[in-house]
């Protein structure tokens, strides 16, 4: 177990190292372009070269890369070109906002999708099963921005019940979070529900469940005590990995509703060409993705005693 965790951890570090190198290569190999971004398009070549010299860019690429990684590990990602403040200060605020959004989404999505998935998988082919399966295909077919457009048209423009943005310009407001959370839950619950359903349906056909039913145990006991333990292993990994998908959706939803989170920060940085901010945001996003992969792998082996990796 410990060896597996260690191996996965090392491969996580290796991936982070390669990603950081490629990212640095993409954005900072062309030194003059960096200076052009910092000093603006009307700066002269002399100005750019002077700036490069003053900021240590005349050193070899590898030295600069190592220094960048070293600083990044200490939480120093440089200064944002657009906001003129330390990238780290921006990042933590925005990450906290996104964590709130993602936390709410998970808090709603997990009970909803597990309940629906279990109900559907308990009796494969039943009316409940058909309905849940179709509804989950339907909702996952609406890309985040499309369902956001439809929900905004109905609840903001037509009924006038909810605000159409989540910019929180007049302080924090739960009402502004309703639509962003709803959009993400709608898009994401279907996949988890379908995975839970498949896993539950498979367990329900197994020998030991048949034994339990034939033994005369009440149905609720068979489902809750015998089936669930095994049926929830797959959904667990799917839910943890869902964070990776959620991050993609979060970018779209945050841009759509002008929510001041990590996703809209990354998007703004990319469209503005804010190099240091893009680098930092991408590294954080990849870290979150790789780390959740690690958690899911380790969690899976902990939950499933039949699996033992070498």
């Amino acid at each position: 177990m410990l060896r597996l965790a260690l191996r996965r951890f090392l491969s996580m570090i290796a991936i982070m190292a390669v990603v950081s190198f490629v990212l640095f290569l993409i954005f900072e190999a062309d030194k003059l372009a960096v200076a052009g971004k910092v000093l603006g398009p009307y700066s002269t070549l002399e100005q750019r070269e002077l700036w490069l010299q003053q900021h240590g860019y005349d050193r070899p690429f590898l030295v600069r890369y190592v220094e960048w990684v070293w600083k990044a590990l200490q939480g120093d990602f440089g200064e944002s070109l657009r906001y003129k403040v330390a990238v780290a200060d921006l990042l933590w605020d925005r990450l906290a906002n996104t964590a709130l959004l993602a936390g709410l989404v998970f808090a709603l999505m997990i009970p909803l999708s597990l309940t629906l998935g279990i109900l559907a998988g308990m009796r494969e082919g039943s009316w409940t099963d058909r309905t849940v399966s179709f509804v989950s295909i339907l909702t996952t077919s609406f890309p985040e921005f499309a369902s956001a457009a439809v929900l905004v048209a109905v609840f903001v423009f037509w009924l006038g019940w909810l605000p159409g943005t989540a910019a929180m310009t007049q302080g924090f407001s739960w009402r502004e979070l309703v639509l962003p959370v709803a959009v993400l839950v709608l898009y994401d619950f279907g996949y988890v529900a379908r995975m839970t359903r498949a896993s539950m349906a498979e367990v329900m056909t197994s020998q030991y469940i048949r034994t339990a039913i034939l033994k005369g145990l009440p149905r609720w006991r068979v489902v809750l005590v015998h089936a669930l333990r095994n049926a929830l292993i797959t959904p667990f990994t799917v839910i943890v990995l869902q964070l990776n998908w959620l991050l993609s959706g979060v970018i779209v939803v945050e841009v759509f509703f002008a929510y001041k989170g990590f996703g809209s920060l990354l998007y703004d940085a990319a469209t503005f060409g804010d190099i240091y901010l893009i680098e930092a945001c991408t590294m954080v996003a990849v870290f979150v993705a790789v780390f959740t992969q690690f958690l899911s792998d380790v969690g899976y082996t902990l939950l499933n005693p039949r699996i033992r990796f070498r």
Partner: protein, 295 residues
Amino acid sequence: MATIPRPTPSRSRRRRSLLALLAAARESPLVVGGAAIVLFWVAVAVLAPWLPLPDPNQPLEPFRPPLSVSADGSTTFWLGTDHKGRDILSRLIWGARRVLIWATLATASAYGVGIVMGLAAGYLGRIWDEALSFLANILLSFPVMVLYIVIITRIGASPLNIVLAVTFASAPGIMRIVRGLVLDLKTRDYVAAAEVRGESPWWIMFVELLPNARGPLVVDACLRMGYTTIALATLGFLGLGLPPPDPDWGAMVAETLPMGAFAGHAMIFPALAISSLVLGFNMLADGLREMSLKE
């Protein structure tokens, strides 16, 4: 040394299995429904130049509601017009053409790369497997949208660059699937037979292994067409998609969002169009998967 002839697959058997497949597909409402939706959009997209529609980029009368008639009574705006007075139905249909062309090209390109990578990793193994799997792990460690945004903002939003970005994002996933299938298939007797016959690795990979892995790949391809449609539309919405002024479903929603309060139809219809096409692909994938499980 005597040469062993290659066995030739019988034609009639293959045709019969295709007919059987069509007959079985009729039984599944998911497959029929999904195919109907997808074929509807394909037909509309193919026929776009011959349909009696106004030019999709021509400004006519702005903010007309659905089912209204133009001032001179010559054209009916079935779905209304947008903020620039362009006919929405016409833009939807021309937009379908655009999204179907580029989604197909992008998915095909991702499949080409993913299949070659997967066959090499699965059949050749060893160093190939290690290297290709590591590469795939790196690309898969990006949240998809982050990968798109980084690539597109770096190399610009041209149609070819978008195909490239989709290939980067999807090929690793396809490679994993192909690799898994190949690892299972390569222990079969017919592969050993081909090796004994002295066939080259290329022949074995593309003629012996690939056709036998097609079932799961067809299901995955339908799903991936849906994802790619979502990706293209979402990039269009974020302003990183195919360049204007030609109609793009995602960009249509983004452009008309500010006017949603009084011209909601202009953003609802493109949103529904995208979702219906994706729904078609998803239903098709799901139905085909169910059918393959029954066999």
